[in-house]
Structure formats: C-alpha cells, structure tokens
C-alpha cells in the first residue's frame, strides 16, 4: 500500500488545493461575524497555530517513517486508545467530505443550476470524486498539480479585477474591539484550515521525507496567504458592513466586478464553474484519506474499492442539514473536529517523546 511515492511539490500542492476549498466564498463573512474587520488577524493567528501544529505533526511522522497516523497512533497509545483516535479521524473525514460537498451543492444550486435537485448535484460530484479516489494516491497528487493553476486562476482573477474599486482604508482601524475577541475568533476561524491533518498521511508517502516540513509548511503558508489576501481585498472592496449580510461575499465581489472589454456580462458564472474544480480538489482527498484510514484501521490490504462503501455514508451526512443554518452548523462541527485534533496531536507527540517510540529521526 505504501508503494506509491509522491514528490515534494506534490505534497505542497496537495495540501494547498485541499485546504483552499469551498470555504473561501463564505470565509470573509464568517470571520467578520466573530472579529469584524480584524478577521485577518484571526487568520494570521490561526495560521501561526496551524504552522506550529503542522511542525509537530511532521516531527511525529518522521519518528515513524513510512507509517501513517493510523498506524503509529496505535503504536503510541496502544491499540484501543489509538483506534479510538482513528475513529475520530475517519469521522472527521466523513464530516469534511460531507460538509464540503453540501456547501458546494448549495452554491451550485444558487448560482448555476436553480432547478436541478441537490441530490443529483451531490451524487454526480461524489461519483466523480470516487472515480479519482479509486485510482489511488499518485493520480490524486497529479490531479492536484494539474488543478493547481485552475484553482488559483479564479482567485487571482477576482483579486486583480477588484483592484479597480478598492479602498484599503477599510482594514483600519485595527483591534478596536480588544485582543480577547480576536484570540477567541482565531479558534473559531480555525475551520478554514480544516484538512491540515492530511500531513499526517502524506509524509509517509514522500520520496524525500526529509523535506516534509518544508513541503507541508509551503502548502499551508500558501493557504494562509491566499485567505489573507482574499479577506483583505473583500473587506476593502465591499466594506465591513456588507460582509455581515452577504452570504458569499467573494461571489458578491465577483458579481460587482466589471470585466474590461465586457465580453462576459457577469464574471460570476464562469468563476463558479472554475470553483467546481476547487471544491473537487478539496472533497476528493478527504474521500481518499477517509477510505485509506478506514482500511488501515481494519487492516485491509486494498482500499480502493472501499470508497464506494464510504460514499453512501458521506452522502447521508451531506443530506442531513435541512437549511442553510444547519449547513453552517455542519461546517462548524467539522471546524471544531479539526481543532480537536490539536490536543490529540500534542498528546501523541508527548507520549511518543516519553516512551521514546519510533525508529525515525524526529
């Protein structure tokens, strides 16, 4: 199973394309809800937390070379406790795939296909994802390489075109509401970084594991930077007030933009079309690593067919929310699950250190 090998760049890009996902359309509003115009400080603080947790995770992975978190968690905590942590991980992947696709389905319904049932959108989306996940890790990594420019393209396009009507003064003044809400917001905003746990799997597959920290940090730093720029530009173009009432501020930004030369009336639809790719590269890794976790937990040799058993569960979870509020709730649960991994990782690292487990050079 570990015969797949991926390159350093692939790790960075896989992380980037997995993290920069469906969330970015709604991200500015949700940050503004907790921290107002200081949402970018949230992102920055959360990002720093993210990078340090990631460093710890890489250290842990390097201690157990060639093993994923599923395998070494059992080595560190013992089988029952380790499996419990693993079940948490599988649930997290189910939540992540479900929440991402639900938000995706809602947005597609809103902007592209008003009359198509959500079920059809989700099922086609899942089946396409399963097609890729069934091919294994290498095609997944290559896919992220191919899709990376296309994930970046709509973001860069919006950001570049938004520069025509922009007032960076909107970012000021900084920290009017004090430090505490910002720190609290940082924890709340951690949901945008859901998916960072992929590092715990990817290091095991790297051709050059010694570059793991560099690669994963690069991918994560790219994500943080992208979110920062999106937030600041959205805030500066739309103004703080409109962040609160807009469901998808970035989409609104796209709607406001006038294309020079005016070949296309609205930039919104083509951007949404490209955004399908972004959603896809976020959802598929969680499908793949969810099935991988499950198969490693159960000690299965072959995990590729398992994705089709995994899908109905994800689909059921994705169809759970009955309205937009519940979709947000699902996203929040996923965010908190991601946050909950931080203590687990710290615990794993501590126990590993104390027990001096693992043969690798951490």
């Amino acid at each position: 199973m570990l015969k797949d090998r991926i390159t350093t760049i692939q790790v960075a890009l896989l992380l980037y394309t997995s993290l920069v996902g469906v969330g970015y359309l709604a991200m500015p509003r949700r940050l503004a809800e907790t921290a107002g115009r200081d949402g970018w400080v949230n992102l920055l603080l959360g990002g720093m937390l993210l990078l340090s947790v990631n460093a710890l995770l890489v250290w842990l992975c390097r201690r157990y070379p060639g093993q994923t978190i599923i395998e070494y968690s059992q080595a560190i905590l013992g089988r029952p406790l380790g499996q419990a942590a693993n079940i948490l991980l599988v649930l997290h992947f189910i939540l992540m795939a479900a929440s991402v696709s639900r938000i995706f389905g809602d947005v597609i319904k809103l902007y592209l296909l008003e009359n198509t049932p959500l079920e059809v959108i989700l099922i086609t989306f899942f089946l396409t994802g399963a097609y890729l996940a069934g091919h294994g890790l290498n095609p997944l990594a290559r896919m992220s390489e191919v899709m990376f420019p296309l994930v970046l393209a709509p973001i860069l396009l919006i950001l570049a075109l938004a520069q025509m009507e922009i007032d960076y003064g909107e970012v000021l003044p900084v920290m009017t509401i004090g430090l505490y809400p910002v720190i609290q917001g940082a924890a709340n905003s951690f949901f945008v970084y859901t998916g960072f746990i992929l590092t715990a799997f990817l290091v095991a597959f790297m051709q050059q594991p010694e570059k793991a920290l560099k690669a994963s940090s690069l991918g994560l730093a790219g994500t943080i930077l992208t979110y920062l720029v999106i937030f600041i530009v959205t805030l500066s173009s739309l103004g703080e007030a409109s962040l609160y009432w807009s469901t998808y501020p970035v989409a609104d930004l796209a709607r406001r933009i006038e294309v020079p030369g005016a070949f296309l009336e609205k930039l919104e639809a083509p951007l949404m079309a490209l955004w399908v790719l972004t959603a896809f590269t976020t959802m598929t890794p969680s499908l793949y690593f969810g099935t991988l976790s499950l198969s490693q937990m159960l000690g299965l040799k072959e995990h590729r067919g398992l994705v089709y058993l995994f899908l109905p569960v994800v689909y059921q979870v994705a169809m759970l929310p009955r309205n937009y509020g519940e979709t947000i709730l699902l996203g929040n649960i996923m965010g908190y699950a991601a946050l909950a991994f931080i203590p687990v990782i710290i615990l794993l690292a501590l126990v590993a250190k104390l027990r001096k487990g693992g043969g690798g050079n951490g």
Partner: protein, 580 residues
C-alpha cells in the same frame, strides 16, 4: 564467360574422389548437427528421407521442431514442395554447378526477388563456372606454367559448399542455414535459397527486389519548412533514411519478426547510450509478447503494446517523418519501424508531445511557441465549444452581455429542437461529411466538402433546422480539430466531445466542469511505458517545461527531457557553448 581449362597438375577432383569427399563432408556435417538427433541418421544413411527424427511431412510446421535439411537435394526439395504445396509464384530452379558437377537448386518467389541478380550472379556464376580471374605472377604459382588461371578453385580436399559461398557467389548477403523451415521462411521473406546436393546446409541469398513506392513527401504530416522525405513501405528504405540522418555508432537497430503468419519484419531503433535500459527491455518484452498472426501496420502493434486500450487518447505516437524519429531517439525514446507501412511508432508518448510538430523546431522559437499555444488552445476549442454553446444557450444565457444573448436568442427563434439536439445533429452531420470526404478520391472529396459546408449548412439554416450560431460552432470545432498535428489525438478529442455535450445538456456548466474533471482524472491515471501521460505537467518537471507550452530557444534546450530517464541529460558540452 569462359570454361576454365583444368590442367592435370591442378588436380581437379576425379568423379570418384569427389564422391568420397562429399561423403566425408556429409558425415562431418552430421557431427556438427550433432546431438542425439543425428545418431539415427548415421545408422540408416542409405534410407534417404526417414533419417531425421520428426522429419516427416507436415509435422515440422511447428516452429519448435524445425526439420533439418537432408543431405539429398531431392529430399530437401520434396520437403519444401511439401510445405508449400502448389504455389504458382514459387520458382524452384534446379541446375548443375559446373565446376563441381553437383546438382544444386535456387528457390525463390517470383516477383519478390531481383531476377537480374539471380540470372547473372547466381545462375551464370555457378553454371558457367566463371570464377573471377586474375593474372598470376610466375613466382606466385610456379607450377602453373601459365599466367591465367581460375582463382584458387577446386583445390584437393576442398569443401564445395564453402568454396561456392566464398568464391563463386558474388552476392553480398549470404547467410548459412540448416533447416527446411528456415528455407521456407527465407524465400517467403523475399530472399532466394540456394541448396547444394550432398550438404545439410544451404545459403540464404539477399536478392530482394520487389516493387516499392519511391520516397515521397509524407501524406499526413506536411510541413512548410523542413525535410520533405517521408517513410515508405519498405523497412530497409526507412532504416536507410534514419541512418543517413544519424551517423552515431550508438544508434542501434534491432530486428524482430512479429506475426505468427505474416512474419513481419520490425526494427527497434534507439540510441544505446541515451535510452533508459528499463524502457528498452519493456519495449522488447511487450513486442515479444505479441502473439497475433496478423501484423500489417504499425497500428496493429500499437494496439497490442499500448498501456490502456480503453482510453480515447493515443499512448503511442506515430510518424511518417524520419526527422521526427531521429529527434525522438535523441531524447532517449524508442522507435519501432514495421515493414510494409510508412508509419513508425515512438514510445513512450506523453499527451503534450502530440501537440509538437516537426516544424516547431525548424522555425524560430518565438513563432513556434505562439503556434504551439494556438494548437493547445485549439484542442480546447475542439473539445469544449459545442458543449459550451449548449450550456450557454440552454442554461446560462445571462452569462453573455445582453446584446449578444439577444442576438443568439434571435437566431434560434423558430428552431424546433433544444440546443443539445441541434448541436448533436450538426456535429454528427459534420462527422458524416468528414468521413465521406476522407474515403473519396481527391476531387470528389472536395465536392463533398463544398456540398457539406456550403449547401447543406446554408440549407439547414434556411430551413430553420439549425441556427447560424450552431453552424459557426461546428465550423470552429472542425477547424480546431484539424489544427491538432496528430490525427489520432484529434480523433480522441472529437470522440470526447459527444459525451461532453450530453453531460452539459443535463447539468449545464457544472456538467461541463465535471466532464473536464473526468477527462483530467483519466489522463492523470494514464501511463505510457512507465511515463505518466501528463508529464511534465503532472508530476511537475520544471526543467522539461521549456518544450511544452512554449518551445524555448534552441540554446536554452541544452538538456534532454527527463521524462524518458535518459542516461545523458545534457545535449551538448555546456562549456563549449558559452564561448559563442
């Protein structure tokens, strides 16, 4: 020319002595053939035909049990006749070798060999005994007592077969063989077979001379600038075209025979010190694994050695251009040439290589780069335009500026079909015109094009069966499809277009993107001889990027592509180049 006057002191073999010598040779040969098989032969030397185990009729056709030649010419000819049956094109010419008074035979297929060569260099040399003459110096052969004598013929104890091969047959290609089956294969492969009575060996004479098309400009890969020679159907002509362009002693060509019945000659060409040995052995293995009785074109081989036969995209490149083959082998790739077809195969092939045309390297880099980007753009147009049209017209008319949307809506007024049906009808009609034109002779093909393009298109619009917008889309798609240099890749795109249209008709732009994703998933999982299909795009190999979207200036291309894991990544001595 003349009969050699044999002087007594030259001691020509008297008949009795000759026979003795022959017998000796035969028994000598038996020992060489050797092994347990030869033993019963020595016992029953008088019984002519049954001496070889398994030497019966018909049984020896399996290639594992090859029937050895018998010492008697009549038996051998009988065995060959037995194999071939009544074949009107098989010529078996029996005659006597004048110098030795031994019966011999030349066997060949009429029309496959150069008759002139057989007449003058085989029959005349042997039947007249006209050995090459030279003036002997007295001191060289003092016993001669004369100045002219045949060059060392008929020395006592000499082996007639060896003498004929070495001294009498002025034919460059003469290989020895020792089984009936080899003989049969040889004359069916356009060689002539020479058999001598009393010997269990024969000679395969290279006297090929069948009609071949002359070297002309390739039909499928025309260039504005660049060499105009293309491959032809003759394998040796093609290898000569290659050898003429690449004089590197490391340029190797190995021969293989494929096809259980056709026995088609194939050549694997590569540069020894550039090719990845794993790739080479993989190619050889896959070729050796072919067990098909029919190999008529390199296309037969391509389908048997490609990685995924379910894919709409070709994973093996084919070309009619020798220069393209040379460029490929110098990148560490392997070329497969097949007798009987002008199309050579190149492996491994990646997706982006199908967008490279030979001309890219002969034109200056800026022009070549722009044209290449245009081609890649064309591939997108060819694949996605009809689907995009369907998406915009039936799902997202708001995408377009109001004026344009209104204009398109106005042209569609009165058309009874939904956009997707209209698109399918027009695209299928176009494919029909293309297919009809492709099979027809030139002038008629043009007529079909005119009928299709002008008359039917115009009539369809007037009859309100198709909108002018749709006609433009179909025309654009067709143009874009034809601007992809590789025909097999263009077919792949054309094929993919139809499921995309249907997907888009059901799910709009989202369906289009899903289609795009599915195509990409397929491509990232595809491999060609161990090389990922989308490389160097996935996985990223930045060093190879200078020859994909753009074609970097020649001076910047000092390294070979890494994708073939070539053994010498540098093309030239970089120190040397700095002096320019």
């Amino acid at each position: 020319m003349f009969r050699t006057p044999r002087k007594p002191h030259r001691k020509p073999l008297p008949p009795g002595q000759k026979k003795k010598q022959n017998k000796k040779t035969v028994s000598g040969m038996t020992d060489q053939v050797g092994g347990p098989k030869a033993e019963p032969k020595a016992k029953s030397n008088d019984k002519s035909n049954d001496i070889f185990p398994g030497g019966g009729t018909g049984e020896g056709t399996s290639l594992e049990k090859w029937q050895p030649l018998a010492p008697s010419l009549a038996d051998n000819l009988a065995a060959i006749r037995d194999r071939t049956g009544e074949n009107s094109d098989l010529i078996i010419r029996e005659f006597e070798v004048a110098l030795y008074k031994i019966r011999a035979a030349v066997i060949y297929i009429d029309g496959l060999v150069n008759n002139e060569l057989i007449h003058t260099h085989v029959l005349r040399s042997l039947m007249t005994g006209s050995a090459p003459m030279r003036v002997m110096e007295e001191e060289e052969a003092p016993e001669c007592g004369e100045k002219r004598r045949p060059l060392g013929l008929c020395l006592e104890g000499e082996d007639a077969f060896k003498a004929i091969k070495d001294k009498l047959l002025p034919i460059a290609g003469a290989r020895e063989f020792s089984t009936v089956d080899q003989a049969v294969l040889a004359f069916y492969s356009a060689d002539a077979v020479f058999l001598l009575d009393g010997y269990t060996q024969g000679l395969v004479l290279s006297v090929r001379g069948y009609p071949l098309r002359g070297v002309t400009e390739p039909g499928t890969e025309n260039l504005i600038r660049g060499p105009r020679e293309g491959f032809v159907e003759g394998l040796r002509v093609n290898t000569s075209l290659l050898r003429r362009r690449l004089r590197d002693p490391n340029f190797k060509m190995i021969s293989m025979r494929l096809g259980r019945r056709t026995h088609t000659d194939c050549v694997i060409a590569y540069v020894q010190d550039l090719v990845d040995p794993d790739l080479l052995s993989e190619v050889q293995q896959r070729l050796a694994g072919i067990d098909n009785d029919l190999i008529l074109d390199s296309g037969n081989i391509e389908q048997l050695i490609e990685d995924s036969w379910l894919s709409p995209f070709p994973q093996v490149q084919n070309t009619e251009r020798p220069d393209k083959v040379i460029a490929a082998v110098l990148e560490g790739r392997v070329a497969i040439l097949v007798d009987g077809t002008p199309f050579a195969l190149l492996v491994p092939a990646t997706f982006l290589q199908f967008f490279q045309a030979g001309e890219d390297y002969y034109e200056r880099w800026l022009i070549a780069s722009v044209i290449r980007i245009l081609r890649i753009f064309a591939s997108y147009v060819a694949t996605f335009t009809p689907a995009l049209y369907v998406a915009i017209v039936s799902f997202h008319p708001g995408l377009l500026p109001t004026n344009l949307a209104m204009a398109i809506a106005a042209t569609r007024e009165g058309i009874p079909f939904p956009a997707v049906v209209e698109a399918l009808i027009m695209e299928v009609a176009f494919e029909l015109f293309r297919e009809a034109g492709a099979r027809l002779p030139g002038p008629i093909g043009q007529t079909v094009g005119i009928v299709g393009g002008l008359i039917v298109g115009d009539a369809a619009v007037r009859a309100n069966l198709a909108s002018p917008g749709m006609v433009i889309v179909v025309a654009l798609t067709a143009l874009a499809g034809f601007s992809i240099p590789a025909y097999n890749m263009a077919i792949g795109f054309r094929l993919v277009r139809f499921p995309l249209m249907i997907l888009t008709a059901s799910l709009g732009l989202y369906g289009l993107m899903l289609g795009f994703i599915i195509i990409n998933i397929h491509m990232v999982s595809l491999k060609s001889f161990g090389v990922t299909y989308l490389s160097p795009l996935a996985p990223y190999r930045f060093r190879d990027w200078k020859d994909i979207l753009i074609r970097a200036p020649v001076r910047a291309m000092a390294t070979r592509p890494l994708l073939t894991k070539t053994r010498q990544p540098k093309r030239e001595d970089s120190d040397k180049q700095e002096g320019w």
